[in-house]
Each structure stands twice: as structure tokens, then as C-alpha cells.
Amino acid sequence: MTRTVLVVDDSKLARMVVKSILAKTSGDWQIAEAANAREALDVLATKNVDIALIDFNMPDHDGLWLAEEIRAGNTDMPLALLSANAQDAILARARELDVGFVEKPLSEEALTAYLSGAALKLRRAGK
């Protein structure tokens, strides 16, 4: 089933890496992009997004701020932080928000494993 994944990262390279992995592993999935948290909220307001992959360290608002904003309106969308910043406090807050964590540098295996789990969660929820 085709899914739409929103990739939020201020780095174009980071977005390219995700797109390159998705093109290999889930070629029929759609990708939406945003370079910061505000842009991401605009995309979410206008597009049907199934899964969001969010960088942690971004200008103005970090990835956890964005995750909180998304969770306030959508309690079950699969969300994951993509970051090398795996500090305990950040991981704990991500867990509280039911946000996954995929460590950078991204590997195809780690991202695919997260996305497979997210797709399964959506299917179980009848979406």
C-alpha cells in the first residue's frame, strides 16, 4: 500500500539520504519535504501524511517541539526522530510522546525497520 512520508530536516543532504533509501526500499511511497517545523505544520495542514520523520536539531524549533505539536492534533500518526543526538533526556521525551528514534548516520536497515513497523501499525489501525 502506498504511503506518504513527510521528511522534516533543515539539511537537504539529510532529506536526500532518506529519499534515496525510500526509493530503493519502498519505491511507490510518496515523499513530502519540509526544511523546518513551521513548514512541516503547513504541509500537514494541506496533505494527507501517514508517517513523519523528523530531524531533532533544527533552527527555531527542534524536532521534539514539532512532535508535540503534531501529537496535539494527531495521537496515532507514526513519528520518528532522526538524529545522532541520542541523549537519554531526548530519548525519554521521545518515548513519552510515542515517537520512535532512528540514529544518524542513517542506515537502510534501521530506517526500513522503523518504516515497516510504522506501516504495520497503520494497517492494524485500519489505515
Binding site: 533543515d10 539539511s11 537537504k12 543532504l13 539529510a14 536526500m16 539520504v17 529519499k19 534515496s20 531533532f56 536539531n57 533544527m58 533552527p59 538524529s83 545522532a84 543526538n85 541520542a86 541523549q87 537519554d88 533526556a89 531526548i90 544518524k104 548516520p105
Partner: protein, 219 residues
Amino acid sequence: MTADENNGDGNSGAPLLTELERDALTEVINIGVSRAAKNLSRMVKDQVHLSVPRTETMSRDQAVGWLSKRENSSLVAVGQDFRGSFSGQALLIFPEKTSLELVRSILDDTLSLEEIVDLEQEALAEIGNVVLNGCLVVMANMLKRSLDMSLPRVMRGSSQVVLLGAEEEDPGEMVLFLTIDFAVRARSINGYIALLMDLPSITAIKTLIREYLRGFEEN
């Protein structure tokens, strides 16, 4: 002044980074520093906050000016030189007044102030080693090159001492200057992680970044 804006400065036509190359280099360093922050966080037992990295090309003198505008008190820095396909200097810099607090945060709470002062130099070198190595190793691995790292050295003094060093680097030399602010808010500790690379290294890193990007370029 950014790397892109710095074209045509009469600097022997030095190759500078395109927007995408700079973005890619910033992202590689961001990943390295984030890993390093995880290490530092474990050491100080508190969350380490990081800013978004800044990547600019400027003279060493301008880098000194940038730092002294932000920090006018005496500084402490731990520096490590790295050599390989690209070379430069990595620095962990913080105001001297927060140095003891940083050291205290990684040592046993039962130590006296005198004992902490005795261990300060050694502890600072270890903190620098963990943070800077963490960052450089990730960079080297992502770009598939090895780097030789010098032992950490602790420096104290003004922005000039920290960034120009005892070897009296040419203040007019153009360098790639990358900085990230870090803060351990719970302990009122703040500072900077900085990387300086000279122009031959920018040429080398440009090639490596292009190779790295090739794997992800859109069709």
C-alpha cells in the same frame, strides 16, 4: 560572510563550497557533534543542548573577532589537531569561569575544591578528547577516510590565544570556520565546539563531500 559570498576575494581562486556541499558538510558535522554531545551528556549527567551549526569561510582574524564579540572574558579551550585527507584543528571552547563547574560535573561529588582544582587540567583534556574525538571519528567514517588525531592540549587566554595558538598562525589566512554552541543549562555551562580548516583542506573536503553526495543524488 558565507563561503558562497566569499568568492572573488582575490584568494588565488580558492575553491569554495557550493550551497549543497556546505549543507552536506554541515550535516556531517552536525551528526558528529550530536554523537559527541551524547558522550558529553553521559559524562556530566545532564542534557547538553546544541545550536544548529554555522559554517563560514573567513580569515583567522575574523574568527577571533567573531569569538571575542561573543565572549569577552578569559577562555579555556581544549584543542586537537587532525591530519589526513583533510586537516585542521578541533576546539572545545568555554568561558574560564565555567571551567571548574564543567570539571566538577564529571568528577565524584565527594572531592574537595582543592582536589578538583588539582584534577582540572587532566579532566579538561579528557572531556575535550571524548567530545572532539567523537565528532571527528564520525566525520572520518562518514567520508570514508582516516584521520590522525593529536593528543588534546589545554589552552587558556583570550580568543586570540585560543584561535591563533602559540604557533602564531597567520591571522590573515582564510579558513573554514565551523561553530556550534553547546550548553548544559542545569549547570550554567556554555561553550562552543569549533573546527578550523585551511584552504587546501577545503579543496580536499569538497572532493570528499562530492563523493559522499554521489550516493544520494536524485536521478
